[in-house]
Symmetry: C2
Subunit: 259 residues, 2 copies
Amino acid sequence: MDRDDERPLYLQVADQLRAKITSGELQEGDRLPSVPGLASDLGIARSTASEALKVLISEGLAVARSGAGTFVRLPREPQRLIRAWYRATPYGSPFRQDMERQGRAAGWTYDSQTLQAPPEIRTRLALTEPEGDTEDVVRTHYVFTANEEPVMLSTSWEPLATTRGTPIVLPEDGMLAGRGVVERMLSIGVVIDDWVEEVGARPGTAMECDRLRHAPGSTIMTIQRTYYAAEQPVETADIVVPADRFALVYCGKMGRFSG
Amino acid sequence: MDRDDERPLYLQVADQLRAKITSGELQEGDRLPSVPGLASDLGIARSTASEALKVLISEGLAVARSGAGTFVRLPREPQRLIRAWYRATPYGSPFRQDMERQGRAAGWTYDSQTLQAPPEIRTRLALTEPEGDTEDVVRTHYVFTANEEPVMLSTSWEPLATTRGTPIVLPEDGMLAGRGVVERMLSIGVVIDDWVEEVGARPGTAMECDRLRHAPGSTIMTIQRTYYAAEQPVETADIVVPADRFALVYCGKMGRFSG
DNA sequence: TCGAATTTGTGCGTATGTATC
DNA sequence: GGATACATACGCACAAATTCG
């Protein structure tokens, strides 16, 4: 440690602690030195030691538990979610296929409702102006689980213009329950041929983290997926996955339209 | 403001300032109250006022300029990075094309070096065991800029087995400098036909955030990209983009291999 | 060009509340 | 219940950057 100008003191202390984590000297779940401990050991102020730990916490390398201490929290090796559907036969649940390939039991709970689409969804589904307060979409909230643990949230929107009067109006009802949008739509003659996904990331909201049993503020990835049949959007979904458990895998071929 | 238990004081102050931003009372570039100003106006300690401003900074709603003040920085509508290359002719810089489509001036700086690939990269490039300490890859660090601002980091690895003795050993050297991997490889007869991208997200490290001029700990997305020619990996890169500025767009077609 | 005023960044010290062990 | 730990809040001081007359 250098008391000179070089770098701020609290960053030097953070570097020192980070090195112990990345080198493996401190492992997952191990307790980091406490604020008073660091302060007296290194001869610095408690507030300075506290700043150093906050750096590691903001980097996601540690979590503080009030009253207990600050603990190492290594980023887990993420599971891979294959998001490029090169399956020749898109039958069955894509999520279940991904999980079973990695030896995990997939499941989900859901909750469907018909209502009038909000403006943002109208844009994504290319809906016309609403007529009065007519209900024109089916919204379904999903919680997906792997080995009984919640791991993914999804909110799906399907226009009633496409599905009204068919056996698949409700996504999780009837013979094709749980088979995925593509297969369900195919059964009523709607051939989904294009997909677009827009991937973002941000700290999770309190509600999202709660439903995923995650620490508040932990990083999540968001996917806005839209399915098209003959250039017409027939389903769109907001998908939320915790970033410390999943990586999204996309692939394709060069040189011509990637679809 | 409530001096009672309710919520921590610095969060209440942060809420109050955030409300002024989201309501539009304070606009992009406007100066927030200074730390001493807040402290005396609200009758709180300067350190408490400072904490409140740090909350907004960590949320990406403000930036501090030492000596000048703290300024509103509204979350921009995220720029879209098109990551599915359906360009029939993959000529020119993909990054520049994305930026110019959105009316921004693209640029980059780089730094190339030949060295022996570390284990993780060996796996990704399917390299055999190293012979002694032979240098077998070219590593290039990039900092990409849009309108002079750093917006994306990338570290690219190319096996010397592919490029040794050709005019394109150094990515940013010679006639094809800045033209992108695909075009450069094509010029030596290596036809890149497959790509795989693995997308993750996490809080940025101190170094990453510093190089991107971002608040430490702000959310970033990571992309591990690998290019293949005839099923053989010929380049891999680690790409880092700040999540509050970019969304990644992937698209494809259903029902057959998505490439 | 210079200097005074302002502002952020860092670092010190202390104290209290509350959670955990 | 007592010891320990983190979270919050207060106070002060100085350095470095910026701004402006």
